[in-house]
């Protein structure tokens, strides 16, 4: 009799426990709102042609990224820091600046893992950078970047995870 009573009470508590279990949709929605805001603000900076890189003859990031589309070697940065890091060409320098100066301090220092993929509109990947593998919850979105000069539109895929 006692055992049956305990089992019934246990079942009642189990039902209550399930009823108050976390609202995962709400939690996910909040995280999504925060990550989507952070990612879109970051994409705004990368695609902003008014930010000029003084070490690379005051070229903008979208313009420097347009060099990732070609094998042409002209468009070289003069900064010894960037050259030491392997960023002699505009394309590599842009990726180093984006990774070291923007994505790392904003995302990695907030305990996010990130990946950024630059691709053609047809989906062919051009370059990618990341700070590690994503194993947890993941947010990703695609932002267009219009490269100055050629006017080509590239896709910038930013993914964040924890």
């Amino acid at each position: 009799m006692g055992v049956v009573f305990v089992v019934i009470i246990g079942l009642i508590f189990l039902i209550i426990f399930l009823l108050i279990s976390p609202d995962t949709d709400s939690e996910r929605e909040n995280a999504f709102l925060i990550e989507s805001k952070l990612a879109s603000l970051t994409a705004n900076i990368i695609s902003d042609s008014s930010i000029k890189i003084k070490e690379c003859k005051y070229a903008s990031l979208p313009y420097m990224l347009s060099y990732c589309l070609t094998d042409e070697s002209y468009g070289e940065c003069s900064s010894s820091d960037l050259v030491d890091l392997g960023g002699e060409s505009y394309c590599d320098a842009a990726l180093i600046i984006i990774n070291d100066t923007l994505l790392w301090p904003i995302f990695a220092e907030q305990f996010y893992n990130y990946s950024m993929i630059l691709s053609y509109q047809n989906g062919t990947m051009i370059k990618s950078i990341s700070n590690g593998e994503c194993t947890g919850e993941r947010f990703s979105d695609r932002y267009p970047i219009v490269t100055s000069g050629s006017g080509t539109t590239l896709n910038l895929d930013l993914a964040l995870c924890r």
Partner: protein
């Protein structure tokens, strides 16, 4: 013989009574333990949920605050802070209590806002502090909002960085 049977029945009855009492106590203990676990778990989850909601709210209200003409760059449509305007707002808010409480009402929470420039120059300064210094806070949340920063003293004048929001929750 009858006496013996009566004693036996009485002992049986007593044992059954003790068993019932033990069962009731056992059930009460189980109920208390389960209830405590559920209460603690639900409190923790409610706190986590409130924290997440508050963080989203803080982010939106700070973004709205950063878009006021007193801070925003003159040329730019997106989230862009004029470093000079931020310095001016910082010095006014340090001196003027009413202005500080106006900002506190806008943000809706006790917070510190630090403008950190990452490019072209690395520099940072605390430009808003709405904390009273008298309150004990149970929780601190930090969020970094990427922003474009206009600063005519640097070359080139437009760079980027972030606004670090340190929100203090009671």
């Amino acid at each position: 013989m009858q006496k013996c049977r009566a004693v036996l029945q009485s002992t049986k009855g007593q044992t059954r009574g003790v068993e019932t009492i033990i069962a009731v106590v056992f059930v009460i203990i189980i109920i208390v333990i389960l209830g405590s676990i559920i209460f603690m778990e639900s409190s923790k989850r409610a706190l986590d949920k409130a924290k997440d909601n508050q963080l989203t709210y803080v982010m939106n209200s700070v973004e709205n605050f950063l878009n006021v003409p007193e801070l925003k760059c003159s040329y730019f449509g997106k989230l862009c802070i004029d470093a000079w305007k931020a310095k001016a707002v910082s010095s006014i808010s340090e001196e003027d209590v009413e202005f500080r409480s106006y900002i506190r009402r806008m943000i809706g929470i006790d917070a510190e806002l630090k403008l950190v420039s990452l490019y072209p120059e690395e520099e940072s300064f605390l430009f808003i502090n709405t904390t009273s210094g008298l309150t004990d806070y149970s929780l601190t949340q930090v969020i970094r909002l990427p922003v474009v920063i206009e600063n005519d003293t640097n070359e080139p004048g437009i760079g980027f960085g972030y606004v670090e929001v340190r929100a203090y929750l009671r």
